[in-house]
């Protein structure tokens, strides 16, 4: 009799390649919520998670940085607005920003609140305002991966459709018409919402990258789609979706290969 319930993947199951070399920093701000989840995703992706603290200027020599989701400083004022002034952000802006001239600028990923911080810090274009329906929304969301040349998306295939959870209140992506046009023509939209527009974002943009392609931000949460049993639904079963894991395996292998 095949009445067995869907099984949840084991946490200790490691991915095919174990590349302990990649040290990926995960920053905790006061009010950060998804730092442990991001660290788990890094581990599952084959990297080594290094926790970084908002009040510490040093990035402790990590190879890449994740600004995880949450409600830093309660999302008071504007989401991400107060976190942007943390000491760690000063260093991050120097190491990842436009003034950075080294051939391999620091890969940075901002998820949800982290994306909001990156726009507040002007490392990424645009900004987020309240969802057009004015509510917090938590749901499984399908995205199209439109740019696979970043360190965070290298292992996706072009235009691959992935399902990851999204959960936010201030997730409507806006920017000026001119900048929007520039982002689009330069191919800097990394993730785009598929299906019903969940929050009114311009051109259904879910994630973007900067000119050099080292900084990526997205509103939905790939780190919540890394373990079967705890992610979004997918074709194989309830909560089985692990599409988000590719974000983390991508950066680990990009770092290992030294390529961007």
């Amino acid at each position: 009799m095949s009445t067995e319930s869907p099984l949840i993947g084991s946490f200790s199951a490691s991915p095919a390649q174990q590349l302990d070399g990649a040290r990926i920093g995960v920053v905790t701000f006061p009010g950060t919520l998804d730092d442990r989840d991001a660290a788990r995703a890094v581990t599952l992706g084959g990297g080594t998670a290094v926790s970084l603290w908002h009040g510490d200027e040093s990035l402790h020599g990590v190879d890449a940085v994740i600004l995880p989701g949450g409600f830093s400083y309660g999302d008071y004022l504007r989401a991400g607005a107060l976190a942007r002034f943390a000491p760690v952000m000063n260093t991050l802006i120097k190491e990842a920003g436009a003034q950075q001239t080294s051939s391999s600028p620091l890969p940075v990923l901002g998820i949800c609140n982290g994306f909001q911080m990156l726009t507040e810090a002007h490392l990424l274009p645009g900004s987020m305002i309240n969802n057009d329906h004015l509510k917090f929304i938590c749901k499984d969301q399908v995205l199209r991966v439109e740019n696979t040349s970043t360190a965070w998306t290298a292992q996706f295939t072009a235009d691959e459709l992935i399902a990851v959870p999204m959960k936010n209140q201030e997730g409507q992506y806006v920017t000026s018409a001119q900048e929007l046009e520039q982002i689009e023509t330069e191919g800097r939209v990394v993730f785009r919402y598929v299906g019903d527009d969940p929050n009114g974002s311009r051109n259904r943009i879910a994630g973007v990258t900067n000119e050099r392609g080292n900084v990526v931000g997205l509103m939905p949460h790939p780190e919540h789609a890394v373990e079967a049993g705890y992610g979004p639904d997918d074709a194989t079963g309830m909560r089985n979706g692990t599409d988000g894991l590719t974000v983390f395996t991508s950066v680990v292998s990009s770092l290992a290969g030294g390529q961007q």
Binding site: S5, F11, L33, D37, F71, F136, I137, K167, Y230, R239
Partner: protein
């Protein structure tokens, strides 16, 4: 008599500028002026209660003492009407029920051994009337309060649930209350990073004037992290940390006028409390760091009765004495009188007992998380709780008389005369009952009608406003019958929880109705694949002074305690919410029962409902 000391340095909030003007009523004053009238009635005390305070103290209470007794002897802190019945939860127990119980009823929340060195603590509480007055903030601070109960046991909170009752879905007041309640629960819980793993939404006009907002929080800890609310170790220091103390929840100016025997005008006090989830989030993280580094000996959250409760409970559960200087309390509003400071219900505060050796390490944790704190005093062996105001003693009491030995009432109760008629009034005997659907078509239409009732319909319009993914350990949540959370990522050890209640059954037969609530919750947990282990309950009823309501209450408790004994699951804690009525009309009796069960491996959890991935599987109907 002393003046309020100078305003404390700002914490980023503008100082209220009213000049503090009040006199202090010291213990010496009380002894010297036995005839002075105090406004005990305005503070909600009964004459016999006021008299017994005098007898306990051997003199009239000071204004500050009166403030403490009045809040601690209030129904929701003292359980004075429900205590005699609630004893059954502790009396009707079998050995098996005690086997995994690490902390039972009486502490901030019960604790159950989960095995492998893990323990789980959970509790359900009500925040009904604040949520009616200001839905968003009322519901938000309801989540905040129950989460602090969980932290104070030494646990990391891992999930919340929210059983709700509203009036008619089409009523204007429901349109005012529901969106605020839902976004308040989401706004606070989502910001804390606690997945919402279930709850209930029921619409019934019987709740029109008195909606119910109950909230459950569950937390997990390693055995060694368990903390209790007691002040032990003479010479250990007492610290208050978290948000500053404001005039929250002290309502009108009655207590103020009791202290200002002069004619100074009372300043404004907030009508509602505003929650600060960010402050609570850093409070959680800083407490976990304190527990991890073993920096606190005892800890207590500040709930309804604020500092009155925290000092008297810590003192009476410990060595028995405590000495506190109240002017050390950091204030948001410098015009607060000592009595008001003792009564304030300001949110996001905790009180802890710390050894002198650990004080510096404690301060380091506070500054790392940018949490404000102030040292208030120390543990003594005097068996007295002594509170000074600028060096003069304003409270000198046996803390047990405040915290534990309050009044206990055997309220009269009686089976309502209308109960028989109510039970006889069946659907089959009614007009509707004569035209029961008989044909397939009629039956089909009846099913559709049922499904479209707001009580049966999909609840995702509400639950999609709650984060169910945060933490990465949610194995089941809506739309499943039980919420399931993984506790140990290595072994898959976890817990399943459900909350249930059916006020119609309970109205018809409170004894059976409470049992059915337990049975439903137990079933929901069991069918998810967990072994039910423990119960928490929130008993929402009308006025205990109404013998009909008191009968409903006593029957429900008797029923629930009998059923718990039968199923061998202990009640580990809960909450009683009385006086839920408008214009003399009580709500239907609404015991909400939460059951927690254990999974040795959550990968074996079973979702409810037919799964679209399970095509071709067989369907069985079990039971009677």
């Amino acid at each position: 008599m002393t003046q309020n000391p100078a305003a404390q340095p700002g914490n980023g909030e503008p100082e209220l500028t009213d000049e503090p003007q009040f006199s202090i009523d010291t213990v010496d004053d009380a002894a010297a002026t036995p005839q002075t009238e105090l406004p005990w009635a305005e503070l909600g005390l009964k004459e016999n209660e006021y008299t017994s305070i005098g007898e306990i103290l051997g003199r009239r209470p000071t204004a500050a003492e009166l403030a403490m007794y009045s809040v601690m002897w209030a129904e929701h802190c003292s359980y004075k009407s429900s205590k005699v019945h609630l004893r059954q939860f502790g009396d009707k127990v079998t050995d098996r029920m005690k086997q995994d119980l690490m902390v039972g009823i009486g502490e901030n929340a019960g604790v159950t051994d989960l095995g492998d060195g893990w323990a789980v603590t959970f509790k359900i509480e009500s925040h009904n009337s604040p949520s009616f007055v200001e839905p968003y903030q009322g519901a938000a601070t309801g989540i905040g309060g129950i989460v602090r109960d969980i932290i104070s046991m030494g646990a990391r909170p891992v999930a919340v649930m929210d059983p709700l009752r509203f009036g008619d879905i089409d009523h204007a007041d429901t349109h005012r209350v529901l969106p605020g309640v839902v976004s308040g629960i989401g706004g606070y819980g989502n910001s804390l990073g606690l997945p919402n793993i279930g709850g209930e939404v029921v619409f019934d006009s019987a709740y029109q004037g008195n909606p119910l907002v109950n909230a459950l929080a569950v937390g997990v800890m390693r055995h060694e992290d368990l903390r209790l609310a007691n002040a032990s170790g003479v010479g250990n220091r007492v610290v208050l940390f978290g948000a500053r103390t404001g005039g929250d929840g002290i309502g009108g100016a009655s207590i103020l006028s009791s202290e200002s025997f002069d004619e100074s005008k009372p300043s404004k006090r907030p009508a509602v409390q505003v929650g600060d989830p960010f402050a609570e989030k850093v409070l959680i993280e800083s407490c976990l760091e304190l527990f991890h580094n073993e920096l606190v000996e005892g800890i207590q959250d500040l709930g309804a009765a604020g500092i009155s409760c925290a000092t008297s409970e810590l003192a009476s559960n410990g060595e028995g004495g405590m000495h506190v200087e109240l002017t050390n309390v950091l204030l948001r509003d410098p015009t607060l009188t000592p009595g008001e400071i003792l009564m304030s219900e300001s949110q996001e505060r905790m009180m802890a007992v710390v050894t002198p050796e650990n004080a510096a390490a404690f301060e380091a944790v506070m500054s790392r998380w940018n949490v404000e704190y102030s040292w208030l005093g120390e543990v003594t062996d005097t068996e007295r709780l002594v509170i000074d105001w600028d060096g003069e003693t304003i409270v000198d009491v046996d803390p047990r008389t405040v915290a534990h030995d309050g009044p206990v009432y055997e309220r009269p109760y009686q089976r309502p005369s209308a109960q028989d008629a109510l039970q006889a009034d069946s659907f089959r005997a009614s007009a509707g009952g004569e035209n029961l659907p008989a044909t397939a078509e009629d039956l089909g239409a009846a099913v559709v009608e049922l499904m479209s009732s707001p009580n049966m319909a999909d609840k995702s319009w509400i639950t999609n406003q709650f984060d169910r993914f945060v933490g990465g350990n949610t194995a089941l949540s809506q739309p499943d019958d039980a919420g399931v959370i993984r506790v140990d990522e290595e072994s898959g050890l976890g817990v399943g929880l459900s909350t249930d209640g059916n006020s119609r059954y309970t109205y018809l037969d409170p004894y059976a109705g409470a049992q059915l609530a337990l049975a439903e919750s137990y079933r929901n947990v069991a069918t998810s694949g967990a072994v039910p282990m423990a119960v928490s309950d929130c008993l929402n009823f009308g006025s205990p002074e109404d013998p009909d309501v008191m009968w409903q209450f006593s029957e429900a408790v008797r029923g629930l305690s009998d059923a718990c004994q039968q199923l061998e699951v202990p009640v580990t804690g809960g909450n009683v919410s009385l006086y839920n009525q408008t214009a003399g009309q009580p709500i239907p009796p609404t015991p909400i029962v939460a059951v927690m069960g254990r999974f040795d491996d959550v990968s074996r959890r079973t979702p409810s409902g037919f799964q679209r991935w399970a095509d071709g599987q067989a369907i069985y109907l079990l039971g009677t």
